[in-house]
């Protein structure tokens, strides 16, 4: 397969970026999108040009490092996958593919397609942590948790923190990310103890870092590679408002 890859190139955070189009051919349909970029970079290096900077790590859809806004969609045209799990068979031969970095005030561009998602770490840090003496492995039934609660908690915990929710939201809102973190703990007895403080602290940090307010468009849910539901946002709202009511 051959493609025209229209990529956002930006030297550094302060430089003005622009689109540059590259032609690439002899790409197998089974090549992953990131492998295609690897091939393009090999070509650029062999030509003595600057390779395209992009984030990646596990390439198994687990770490949340890969990003990319491909043809107007976070993580590209496939559903419930991260960019590393996207394959070139999802595109037509000869197609022009537009590749952009996440665009949000909360995620400034570092270089080319790499953005700084450190704001997510700051929100997580603000939520605090729990420390326990683990000791020997406990019996699974020591703390009974209903299947429904455990499932909902695990669904929320599936968030890999890639930032697709922020990237795709017209308001640059991080509500789905914060909701997933708050919700996964709020549904478990261990997390309920500090639930109110966690919800207040994480929302305060999210606002402080300049992420937008949720207007319930549901675009985040549609583009989330882990399919996290906006019903978790309702739970975050509930946790936050009841916590504030108790103040």
């Amino acid at each position: 397969m051959k493609f025209k890859i229209k990529i956002w190139r930006q030297k550094n955070a302060k430089a003005k970026g622009k689109f540059v189009t590259y032609d690439i051919d002899n790409i197998s349909a089974d090549t992953s999108f990131l492998e295609m970029l690897d091939i393009l970079n090999d070509k650029l290096i062999s030509e003595g040009k600057e390779p395209v900077a992009f984030d990646h790590d596990c390439r198994e859809g687990i770490c949340g490092m890969c990003s990319l806004y491909i043809n107007g969609e976070a993580h590209g045209p496939d559903t419930l996958v991260t960019t590393c799990q996207l394959h070139m068979r999802k595109f037509k031969d000869g197609q022009t593919i537009t590749v952009e970095p996440w665009r949000s005030a909360g995620f400034p561009v570092v270089k080319d397609l790499v953005v700084n998602r450190g704001a997510f770490d700051k929100i997580l840090q603000s939520g605090g942590f729990i420390s326990v003496n683990t000791g020997g492995a406990q019996d699974a039934n020591v703390i009974p948790i209903s299947k429904k609660d455990a499932d909902e908690s695990m669904d929320a915990a599936a968030c890999v923190g890639c930032g697709a929710c922020v990237a795709t939201c017209k308001n640059g809102s991080a509500m789905l990310f914060v909701a997933a973190r708050v919700s996964s703990l709020a549904k478990l007895p261990q997390g309920k103890v500090e639930g109110a403080a966690r919800a207040k602290a994480m929302v305060a940090k999210m606002d402080e870092l300049g992420f937008g307010a949720c207007t319930n468009t549901g675009a985040c849910q549609a583009e989330c590679p882990k399919g996290i539901s906006i019903s978790h946002i309702a739970r975050l709202n509930r946790e936050f408002l009841t916590a504030k009511l108790r103040d």
């Binding site: 689109f19 806004y69 043809n71 107007g72 969609e73 045209p77 537009t98 952009e100 665009r103 949000s104 005030a105 909360g106 561009v109 909902e152 795709t168 017209k170 308001n171 640059g172 809102s173 929302v203 305060a204 999210m206 606002d207 300049g210 992420f211 937008g212 307010a213 949720c214 207007t215 319930n216 468009t217 549901g218 675009a219 849910q221 549609a222 583009e223 539901s229 906006i230 019903s231 946002i233 309702a234 739970r235 975050l236 709202n237 509930r238 946790e239 936050f240 408002l241 009841t242 504030k244 009511l245 103040d247």
Partner: protein
């Protein structure tokens, strides 16, 4: 409730509460208007009852306050969200099919609704409740002079004009889109939602918006048809 309204969720809560109040008022207004179809004289009696009585004036002030807050916080949140979105925009954006058009354009739709309200106020409220408050017992309506409580005369006069019929129907269409998203969004913001109720509330929002708008549209169309029959 320490500092709740300075947070992004708190601001949305204000939008939800004021929006819910406005929707309840619309339901009442629509039900009241339907009386005009059944018997215009009954509608005039309702208008006289709600005219300048203290409870109607207080309700109007509360409603105006709620409406003002709804618009003010819509502006604040829109500006806040534009800043959060950043100055760099995507060159291509494919809106997911699960995302409703209304949810993406609530501010613009709200503007259309607000502009329609200005026209509505100038044609009805200004010449009815406001005129009564100013002590006027007669107002001009075209070439005629009528009592400010003759609500059915106002409806009959304005909705005999096809231009106003079309403008009001377009306004109602905008209102439908606004309520179809706003109804369930308000419940979502207050936290009254979960995986099971999410699709149910979205469906209920469309039904509710349809009932409200059809109710209002029925009065407009009925009086327009009546005007055609009267003149021929």
């Amino acid at each position: 409730m320490n500092n709740v309204f300075t947070s992004s969720i708190g601001k949305k809560l204000i939008m939800s509460i004021t929006g819910a109040c406005l929707v309840l008022f619309l339901l009442f207004h629509m039900a009241m208007n339907l009386v005009a179809i059944i018997k215009p004289e009954w509608y005039d009696s309702v208008c006289a009852f709600l005219g300048v009585n203290w409870y109607a004036v207080i309700a109007t002030l509360v409603l105006a306050g709620g409406f003002g807050l709804h618009i003010l916080f819509a502006l604040i949140l829109t500006l806040y969200n534009r800043k959060a979105r950043g100055s760099n925009r995507y060159s291509t954006t494919a809106v997911p099919k699960q995302v409703s058009w209304a949810s993406q354009n609530m501010f613009v739709i709200g503007l259309i609704v607000a502009l329609g309200l200005l026209l509505h106020f100038s044609q009805f409220w200004y010449k009815m409740q406001f005129a009564e408050l100013m002590g006027n017992h007669e107002v001009t309506l075209g070439e005629a002079t009528v009592s400010p409580t003759s609500g059915s005369a106002f409806i009959a006069y304005y909705f005999s004009n096809i231009l106003f019929v079309v403008v009001y129907l377009v306004w109602l269409a905008a209102l439908w889109f606004h309520i179809s998203h706003g109804f369930w969004s308000a419940l979502q913001t207050t936290g009254w939602n979960n995986e099971i109720w999410l699709p149910r509330l979205k469906f209920a929002a469309k039904i509710f918006a349809t009932l409200i708008c059809l109710g209002f549209a029925a009065v407009i169309v009925t009086f327009y048809v009546k005007s055609l029959l009267d003149c021929c």
